[in-house]
């Protein structure tokens, strides 16, 4: 358990670089972040289960201009840190498990807290950008390069700090919340919301494809 916060901090840096700095290659999506964190901490199946359910909430997210979904990677790290042991991937049977609900709720809360942290970093960058642009207008082109490198470092620091914090706080919070015996069919709720999002994205013109998928899904369920 002692290495957990440092692993989360390292993964936080990777996820933030993928999400806020570079061209995203899916590593910051909850299902990937959860699987990576789970694999690094010896709880791969728990990581995949938490990540997949959180992914259902942000399966279609349009990142245009300033519109960004909350920090799904942080939600995954928090949920995996807080999730109970013994979650196994058995052909989707884990979807019926009600024990994941508190961890997923904590994950969603952390995702919104992460968005607040991102906004704080962006405010710092905006202030520094004014100065850098003024310097560049006077021929100091290095100011642009320094600002850009500084922005990368700020985001990376944010990822490390937030990853570390959730890995320290969430297991303790889960222990405190355990006596409440909070349980809910979170898997079915998340799955339904993902179906709605996918259906809305594919549009009504795809109804024959939905139908084909529906038949395949039924066959898959009863095979």
């Amino acid at each position: 358990m002692t290495g957990l916060p440092w692993t989360a901090a390292l993964l936080g840096v990777v996820c933030v670089l993928d999400d806020a700095v570079c061209v995203s290659l899916l590593l910051s999506e909850p299902v990937f972040a959860g699987a990576l964190f789970g694999a690094a901490t010896g709880r791969f199946e728990t990581g995949v289960a938490c990540g997949a359910l959180l992914q259902c909430l942000w399966i279609v997210s349009l990142r245009v201009g300033g519109a960004r979904p909350p920090e799904g990677w942080l939600a995954a790290l928090a949920a995996v840190s807080a999730a109970p042991a013994g979650i196994g991937l058995d052909r989707g049977a884990w979807l019926a498990s009600e024990a994941l609900a508190p961890a997923l709720l904590m994950g969603v809360a952390c995702a919104y807290a992460g968005a607040w942290g991102r906004a704080a970093v962006v405010r710092v960058i905006a202030r520094q950008a004014d100065r850098a642009m003024e310097s560049a207008a006077h021929g100091d082109f290095g100011a642009i390069e320094r600002l850009h490198a500084g922005s990368v470092a700020l985001h990376a620091g944010r990822g490390a700090l937030m990853g570390f914090a959730v890995a320290v706080v969430m297991p303790r919070l889960a222990t405190l919340a355990a006596p409440l015996h909070a349980a809910a069919p979170a898997g079915w709720i998340a799955l339904a919301l993902a179906v709605v999002a996918l259906g809305q994205t594919s549009g009504r013109t795809a109804r024959w494809t939905w139908a084909a998928g529906g038949v395949a899904g039924l066959l898959w369920a009863w095979r």
Partner: protein
């Protein structure tokens, strides 16, 4: 005007990889675009004027930005600064719109649906690996192809948007996968929930209705999820009026 034959430096595409790092509301990706273009702007006749020309806000889909930046770099290298500004202001928003539909409504959800399906069926490793590889290949192909064509077209980028747009076949296939996943997850979920207990199927079906209504009103799925889970916890704890399991 015939352009010079000096190739546009490939490191512009590499530097554009981190376009989003210095994003902020006032200039959006403007500082990132300046950072990417700096190798060309520095070598121009009047670098200060070039930096001021490109100090305005810039915003583009990160898969399509290299195409626009390649064309801008080509024009700046040819000494056609005003044409470069026109490409930035007129062509890159068009490319960005095409890229947003391609990435966020087709390729990305399709690859994520593949990864999550792997988790549902109990084979996450091959599904996660396949989704990652497919997405990365699609991104690298679009970025590399877009930058090379943008740098070649320069000022003609506006007339040749069709050459820069993402491949339609890939977009159609990805949307097909998304629709297929929507249908398959719905019936598979209902069947598995029914096997787990009729009340689970009731919860899944009810959430489909509530989720559909909320999505039409642009409500956040994550907040709706949190609300429904808290409601279910409270119902289980204090009463059981709808037979929750």
């Amino acid at each position: 005007m015939k352009g010079n034959t000096v190739p546009v430096p490939g490191r512009i595409a590499w530097r554009a990889w981190s376009l989003e790092a210095s994003w902020h509301p006032r200039r959006l990706q403007g500082v990132g675009a300046l950072f990417a273009l700096m190798p060309v702007l520095r070598r121009g006749i009047d670098p200060v004027a070039a930096v001021q020309r490109h100090g305005a806000p810039f915003n583009a889909n990160t898969w399509m930005a290299p195409a626009a930046l390649g064309a801008i770099a080509r024009l700046e290298q040819d000494g056609r600064g005003q044409d470069a500004v026109r490409v930035r202001d007129v062509v890159s928003p068009v490319l960005s719109g095409l890229g947003d539909a391609y990435v966020f409504q087709a390729v990305r959800p399709a690859c994520i649906a593949l990864a999550v399906t792997g988790a549902f069926v109990g084979h996450p490793v091959p599904a996660l690996a396949a989704a990652f590889v497919l997405y990365t290949v699609a991104a690298l192909a679009q970025i590399g192809r877009g930058f090379a064509r943008g740098a070649m077209l320069g000022g003609d980028a506006g007339r040749a948007v069709a050459q820069l747009r993402p491949p339609l076949g890939v977009a159609h296939f990805a949307r097909f996968i998304v629709a297929l996943a929507a249908g398959a997850w719905a019936t598979w979920g209902l069947a598995r929930a029914w096997q787990a207990g009729p009340s689970s199927a009731f919860i899944l079906g009810g959430t489909l209705c509530v989720g559909y209504t909320a999505a039409r009103r642009q409500r956040s799925a994550a907040l709706l999820f949190a609300g429904l889970v808290v409601l279910a916890i409270l119902l289980r704890r204090f009463s059981n009026p709808v037979g929750l399991p």
